[in-house]
Subunit: 272 residues, 2 copies
């Protein structure tokens, strides 16, 4: 199996890919868009994408791209504990004036670094591993927020470990593939839907359908429908499989209540 991830090697996506499927051939890619396009186009079997983080929230660009997948579905999830480190070619914390990292990693450490290094300037870049590469090229005075593995790959010094604001910081990844199987025992199903016009109260009616059938929801998110303020697309993860009659009937009723309903995939729950 060929599995695309946001590279280069040493990124958190790489770490999650190794844990999720150690025997897959892992293909580093430049962007989420490239991963999704390659899976949809049949160039690779699957791709792993971050979807939400317990500190920073939804990875909104991935959620928006998911609405456009056509040939592929979500076939799995993996929850990775995130431990951020401040690394540098230099050896002294006080030398650091600039810190490179992915915008989400910067947000996840902002409070803790604001207290310990109030004057430091953050420079966003495409990935935590690219941050190491850039900080290495620039040399002393430059740091990167990265994981344990990137530190080794880029031969950097560890200046400060576990710098994330939230000690329980975790990222949930999804795996998309065009090789779809609903044969899981303990399943989660991800859906997205929207309503005609400006009817936020309509969400209540959808949630009632799940509540009366005792279907548990593990996630509710809203994204703008790219139209007027106040028009949203809702993303829900539910425990269950549309192979089950009760779940299928609920989804059919929701299909009738919504302007658009997309089943993004059914996959085994990752229990941590």
């Amino acid at each position: 199996m060929e599995l695309g991830y946001l590279g280069p090697e040493g990124s958190y996506s790489h770490e999650a890919a190794v844990y999720y499927h150690g025997e897959a051939k892992l293909i580093p890619m430049y962007s989420f868009y490239e991963i999704i396009k390659s899976v949809e186009g049949g160039k690779i079997d699957g791709g792993i994408l971050p979807i939400e983080n317990s500190t920073e929230g939804a990875v909104t660009s991935v959620m928006d791209w998911l609405l456009n997948i056509d040939k592929s579905k979500i076939v799995g999830e993996y929850i990775l504990p995130i431990h951020h480190n401040l690394v540098s070619l230099g050896k002294e914390l006080k030398e650091i004036k600039y810190i490179y990292s992915h915008p989400q990693a910067i947000e996840q450490c902002r409070e803790s670094l604001r207290l310990s290094m109030p004057k430091v300037v953050f420079i966003p870049c495409e990935s935590t591993s690219l941050a190491c590469k850039l900080a290495r090229e620039k040399g002393i005075g430059y740091g990167a927020i990265a994981n344990e593995k990137a530190k080794e790959i880029y031969k950097m010094n560890l200046l400060k470990s576990n710098i994330q604001d939230n000690p329980l910081n975790k990222t949930r990844f999804i795996i998309i593939s065009s090789k779809i199987s609903n044969n899981c025992k303990s399943c989660k199903t991800s859906i997205a839907f929207t309503f005609t016009g400006d009817r936020p109260g309509a969400l209540y009616e959808v949630l009632r359908e799940f509540a009366v059938e005792n279907i548990n929801l593990t996630r509710i998110e809203s994204r703008p429908a790219k139209m007027e303020i106040g028009q949203y697309i809702f993303f829900i993860d539910l425990i269950g499989n549309p192979n089950n009659n009760i779940v299928r009937n609920v989804l059919e009723r929701i299909g009738d209540m919504t302007a658009f309903l997309k089943i993004l995939g059914t996959y085994p729950i990752h229990r941590t």
Copy 2:
């Protein structure tokens, strides 16, 4: 009145501040955090902050900071139509290799620019006006995504106008102040709440309270509770004023159902 905004002059926050309160003394500030801290500390009367965009969604860092306001409340809102332009010191679109802008502005134009300039590299920075300053310093080959006003202030050439993916692109701003008045006629009230433990189904019970009293909701958003995956803080905007008995009773019942309920403010609805 002194009103803080995310500067420098020429930013979208500046534009919204001018429209919201043309006679206020407008104070450019470096970060959302500085604005909120200055309002809370009584250094300035108020601050204007972007809270959601119709393409990109919630401005998550502002939402997270709002949970910590103590002496101030939301006292107003302003909805600004967003027209992005690509500007440069150079005159030819084909010369542009790098584009500076605020990360949200980049996301709002990504699709349209990916189609017309597939090889361009985006460089995120703190604001759209800073993007103009940087692109001006770097010269030919560098562009910035910015509004009409920033183009004039930094004396740049307009290479492409209305480059946002969504022609209806709008940003909703809120105004926070410690000078609080609930004396609006047509009001919106913003609240935030969370539940004990992992109970996403509990949201249904809260929405039912609003539904049975016919209280309209204009926004529902979730943010991670900075704890485990699956634990959320919900943000709701409702039409109404807690001075009204029905609204007050509903909020009291929701207070009993939730682990934490914060009334972020009551303010006049901005109709566009």
